[in-house]
Symmetry: C2
Subunit: 318 residues, 2 copies
């Protein structure tokens, strides 16, 4: 497998990305290659600096840099030789099988949508987050920020995307979808949730549990929480905030230690024709390593094909 | 002062409410009276059962019961002799100065709006929640569920209501308002936040900080978080969920122990012509006591008058 990494993405790039790539290299088979996108002089000197063996790496010289504040579309059109633009070019031409970046996440989303493209039938691709369950295992929540304003049919599709991720990447059998809401009764919520509930309640495209409140985020009542990207982003950053206070106050036990983002890598982009993972801006080497391994796992799960098949069925049934 | 309590409201009523009233009675001046609304036979026997002195209490016989699942408006029209309907009748006629209930919160909101009425100029009254700051003091967040779908001008008014509460009830000088959002930059967020930001950014009606993320909910960057009632409800129930897991796992220290809802009583309804507090359904005696004391404090702060004055100024400036 050929695994792409944006060496210049993230607050601690290129040190953290190079170190993360070296750590990931140790975890994968010798048949796999990691493609490093970035300025070749920087990559080579960093690899040398940490005494890493460059076997198993392919460097794709990409001298231009996309900043965190840059407008995504502009970054792509004006910097075709940036690490992120080249990564998506390689992904599109299938010279790599997966690509991940901890850089400008808007640029990564735009890159994915305009290079490998959105899967036919998918209205909006989505990013997802994981939430450790108190009883073991992981819940997922989507969307987490890519789509702050959405229509009910988009939320419906998120339920399909999330179900496939839960089933084929997290290996949950017949995962349950909950509509994140402010009450459990059928008629509860804002207009979006009320409409989405009506669309979802008799769904044959996924296993719908019903409305579910945020007090159940850490329980095992459902496997997937669907919500608009505004709500999902608020939820995840709030978890991070409370976790970091607990960390500061020495209150983290074996359960809460599972909240450390480093263990998870990043968020896949679901609904595009390729395996793409967006990492946390503050990713350190361990987080980068996990992001790389996650992009590999995403590709190997065959989820893109599963989504294509599901969307085909969904489109035909409408 | 004459303080009203819905004896029949809450999951543990009437035991918890009567006990809470007796506890509150010990905290207030002998010139104050607590008006107990509910079936007089039940109230009298419960008071006798716990050996409480009935001096200082006025019982207002209200034999009808409004259930938690009942539709608010129906409950009022069909049960004019319920504890909650009678409470609001007394509040309207100024036979009591404040009223609180841990019962059907929808019915309490409807009761407030149709008895004492919304303050002129207020588009939608709001309920608020408190969030303990790590550095001491309290943040507030509004709305927390009453208004799941709102327009930007309603959010603007929540900033006024919240500022007055923070200043006159919590004694914060020149409190800062943050617009709860998924990014700090000006153009971030969903359509509601983007429009609200434009309305708020040059406001002279309150001290606007700007956009603020949920990772700052426990910090002292702002004093007031404004958001739609859907988002606020998700935020508060998520805090409760994480707190209760911490409690279960013995991870609560001096800071997190301040998350115990029992200490706060309930949520005031801001924007109506009277001092009304809605309690948590699961309120125990201590929570009821604090709800009663909070409704007293709300009345004494004179916030209703402050809101009237502010809304008058706001309406004239438009």
């Amino acid at each position: 497998m050929k695994i792409g990494l944006d060496v210049m993405g993230g607050d601690f790039a290129p040190d953290a990305t190079i170190q993360g790539a070296v750590l990931a290299r140790e975890q994968i088979s010798s048949n796999d290659r990691i493609f490093l996108f970035g300025p070749s002089d920087i990559i080579e000197s960093k690899l040398k600096e940490i005494g890493a063996d460059s076997t198993g790496f392919t460097i794709v010289h990409s001298p231009e840099i996309v900043g965190m504040g840059e407008r995504p579309i502009k970054a792509f059109t004006q910097k075709p030789n940036s690490s992120i633009a080249n990564g998506f070019k390689y992904l599109k031409s299938k010279e790599i099988d997966s690509f991940s970046s901890a850089g400008n996440s808007g640029a990564a989303m735009v890159g994915a949508m305009y290079s490998v493209n959105t899967i036919q039938g998918v209205i909006r691709p989505s990013t997802l987050g994981v939430i450790p369950r108190e009883n073991g295992g992981m819940n997922i929540i989507l969307d987490i920020g890519t789509n702050p304003d959405i229509k009910p049919d988009v939320l419906y599709q998120f339920a399909i995307l999330g179900s496939l991720y839960s089933e084929y990447v997290l290996n949950v059998k017949n995962p349950k979808v909950g509509l994140l809401n402010i009450g459990e009764e059928n008629e509860k919520g804002n207009l979006l949730c009320q409409s989405a509930f009506r669309l979802m309640k008799d769904s044959k495209d996924f296993n719908f549990f019903g409305n579910i409140e945020s007090r159940e985020l850490f329980s095992d009542k459902v496997d997937i929480f669907v919500c608009d990207g505004f709500t999902g982003n608020i939820v995840l950053k709030q978890i991070e905030a409370m976790y970091s206070i607990m960390l500061r106050r020495n209150l983290v036990d074996d359960y809460f230690s599972r909240f450390d983002y480093e263990n998870y890598g990043g968020s896949p982009i679901l609904g595009v024709n390729g395996s793409v993972v967006i990492g946390h801006g503050i990713s350190n080497a361990k987080a980068i390593m996990n992001m790389i391994l996650q992009s590999k796992q995403l590709h190997e799960s065959g989820i893109t094909k599963k989504i294509k098949r599901a969307m085909n069925k969904y489109t035909q049934s409408k």
